[in-house]
């Protein structure tokens, strides 16, 4: 196929951010971030298989403030990617494709992901009686 010197479409930076484009970018960003999270999960499981000391060290890292920051980020990324993935499936079924609906579902997904993340972390702290 001839692709020669055709003009290229301008890239992301020339467009004004909109809820639709920003959430689309979030979907890919969270997906890549969750891939790193999946590697952390594999590391965590392998540490448990390796022995109690290795598991303790991994747990110590994850309960350190930096580890908790990562876990908080992964919690939101997972819940956002999950909620927005459901939004994608509605589109796949041909539903909710009018622009006002797309914007509304976008805000709904964004708010739902934040609320669910805060709920999960409140529950997590509740489990410990606030000891961490």
């Amino acid at each position: 196929m001839t692709t020669g010197n055709r003009p290229l479409s301008p890239h992301l930076q020339v467009y004004k951010p909109q809820i639709t484009s920003v959430l689309s970018i979030f979907h890919r960003f969270t997906g890549v971030g969750l891939a790193v999270g999946a590697l952390m999960l594999a590391y965590w499981l392998n540490a448990a298989a390796y022995g109690p000391e290795a598991f303790e060290r991994t747990q110590a890292f994850l309960t350190h403030w930096f580890g908790k920051l990562l876990l908080f980020g992964w919690t939101w990324a997972l819940l956002y990617h999950l909620c927005n993935g459901i939004r994608h499936m509605f589109w796949d079924a041909g539903r909710g494709l009018e622009m006002p609906q797309v914007r509304a579902s976008g805000w709904f997904v964004y708010i739902a992901s934040v609320v669910l993340t805060l709920l999960a972390w409140t529950a997590g702290y509740g489990m410990l009686g606030g000891s961490y």
Binding site: R28, A42, A48, A49, L82, A120, G124
Partner: protein, 126 residues
């Protein structure tokens, strides 16, 4: 020289030359991951700061190892499919693209299998 038109050659294939199978697998793993991820987050919340002995007890509770194994399979499969699209979008050099795609598959399988073996070791080992 082929007599097929450009359109005929690419119809139904897409950038990775594999048609809709990728799209379909991504949706199937996504559907599986909805309940599995929610279960995993719920479990992770209950496992905050746990020691290895506690983790082993949890893993031996009914359903834990089954759901963890299913979660790991669906997660790494879905991860591989998603990263494949990212590679196809941004890696334009043909050689680098193929190397990245192969590495992506091998790394995903490595981490999935090692996770499952780790789960079995913890659940049934000492």
């Amino acid at each position: 020289m082929s007599l097929r038109s450009d359109l005929g050659r690419v119809r139904g294939l897409g950038s990775a030359n594999e048609g809709t199978s990728h799209w379909w697998a991504q949706r199937v793993t996504a559907i599986a991951l909805i309940p599995l991820s929610l279960w995993f987050i719920y479990s992770a919340v209950t496992l905050v700061g746990i020691d290895r002995a506690g983790f082993k007890v949890w893993l031996n509770a009914p359903g834990s190892i089954l759901l963890m194994t299913l979660f790991v399979i669906a997660l790494f499969y879905h991860m591989q499919l998603g990263l494949q699209v990212v590679i196809e979008d941004y890696v334009h050099n043909e050689r680098n693209k193929i190397v990245s795609l192969v590495l992506n598959k091998l790394v995903a399988i490595f981490f999935a299998v090692s996770s499952i073996i780790a789960l079995i070791k913890v659940a049934f080992g000492g």
